[in-house]
Symmetry: D2
Subunit: 141 residues, 4 copies
């Protein structure tokens, strides 16, 4: 496990649409995973290495594991804040952690994490690309 440079957090926001809700009147539980994706995507953009650049360089980070703990419900038209951090970086995998909160009162709605493998275009597990390590170092300076 590589020592991560000092903590970088990305914060992005999203407004809930009707299509995100279910008949309980709250956001359907699977949609939080869409927010996690949005969060890690913005994290990568923030450190100067959008996921499109990672893919162009020949790498993919498919999700191996996800978990989510639901605290409070998100509702239609609320703005949620998605906080994303790179929690761990191994040799061939990396993990993000997430906190979803309601923007108006910062009430914590959910927490979760995803673990990703690093694979090349052929689908083989491979080392985390140096461009990511470099981007992280540069960003945490």
């Amino acid at each position: 496990m590589k020592k991560l440079p000092e903590k970088i957090t990305n914060v992005t926001s999203y407004r809930v649409i009707y299509g995100d809700t279910d008949q309980m009147g709250v956001v359907y539980y699977a949609n939080y995973l869409r927010w996690f994706e949005r969060g890690r995507s913005e994290f990568l953009r923030q450190i100067g290495l959008p996921y499109t650049a990672i893919e162009q360089a020949g790498f993919h980070f498919p999700v191996m594991d996800v978990n989510c703990h639901y605290n409070q419900s998100a509702h239609f038209d609320e703005v949620v804040q998605i906080e994303s951090e790179l929690a761990e970086m191994g040799r061939v995998s990396l993990s993000f952690s997430y906190r979803i909160s309601r923007e108006t009162d910062t009430c914590l709605l959910a927490t979760g994490s995803t673990k990703h493998a690093c694979i090349d275009h052929a689908g083989h597990v491979t080392r985390i690309p140096k461009i990511l390590e470099d981007a992280l170092k540069a960003a945490s300076r």
Copy 2:
């Protein structure tokens, strides 16, 4: 516009999950387009030419137009019937029409249609593949 062989209808069914509904307590309007896709996919399977075979042969049928008229709402746990027909076949495009109804009482929930271009792997518009014409002829015999 080619004369279509005698009408073929595919009927397939789908049970509504919570994730399909919204906070009005009914299926979210965009999800009917998922049912249309399921319908035309099963239509193609029925005539012996699943969409995977069409793609393997080098063709795609991206949607150019869709419309949907909503009559009655679909609800959680209801089984809907999706009836799909090939409505038109041009030289480089084709259209499907759909009827969505509730299985228990055959109440009509929605009708709609999609128009598709025929493109090759390079994304260029091309003629409807002969394998589709042949499959339709064989199926309507």
Copy 3:
């Protein structure tokens, strides 16, 4: 058909996530309807009457009809602009029209429209609420 006050257009933007795409490498066609919803929702907020306020006042605008014409594909990580206008307002129904374009080069991706009934909490068709007419008048001054 009531004469609409001078044209009001809402413009809002959305960044495409992986979860919006399909295996063609483009945004799945049903997801444009989510953007339409986002667009009309922001339109209503812009005129000072968010949809939550309409619902609190006892009204709903379920979709009766939708159509979408797909021009060009939207891709992962692109930002799309959603332009929404109130196209028509009848006694008991209203219609929105939409234009989806790519933010970087303003390339038009799709156009569409939705027609909505106005119903009360009991689900009965009813007159467009005066609060909407008032909000439109105030906004177009």
Copy 4:
């Protein structure tokens, strides 16, 4: 923790549509949670107590925690099998576990679990309803 009656497993199947996939050419990770929901819904139907009946009796089982481990990818047009079991039943909560496999070759694609609170219509945590205990007993006889 109540002793569960002998293991009951529900097996249901689902055919992947284009709309379930993403641009990696595989099913988007959030959609497995839709399959979990389908699975537990069919489990409840199998023991004679569909979720609609639970809701009519005044109870809801919102998800408190979910996790999913992704083994292999699911692809367009594949049929997946969803195996669901009631893994645990506490006084005020219950857990389901899931196995997703490819129907053709039984290849294991994913495993996961969900933990649910039992709440009443007012949203308060309450005891697992007796109707569920009774249904389980009857089903495992």
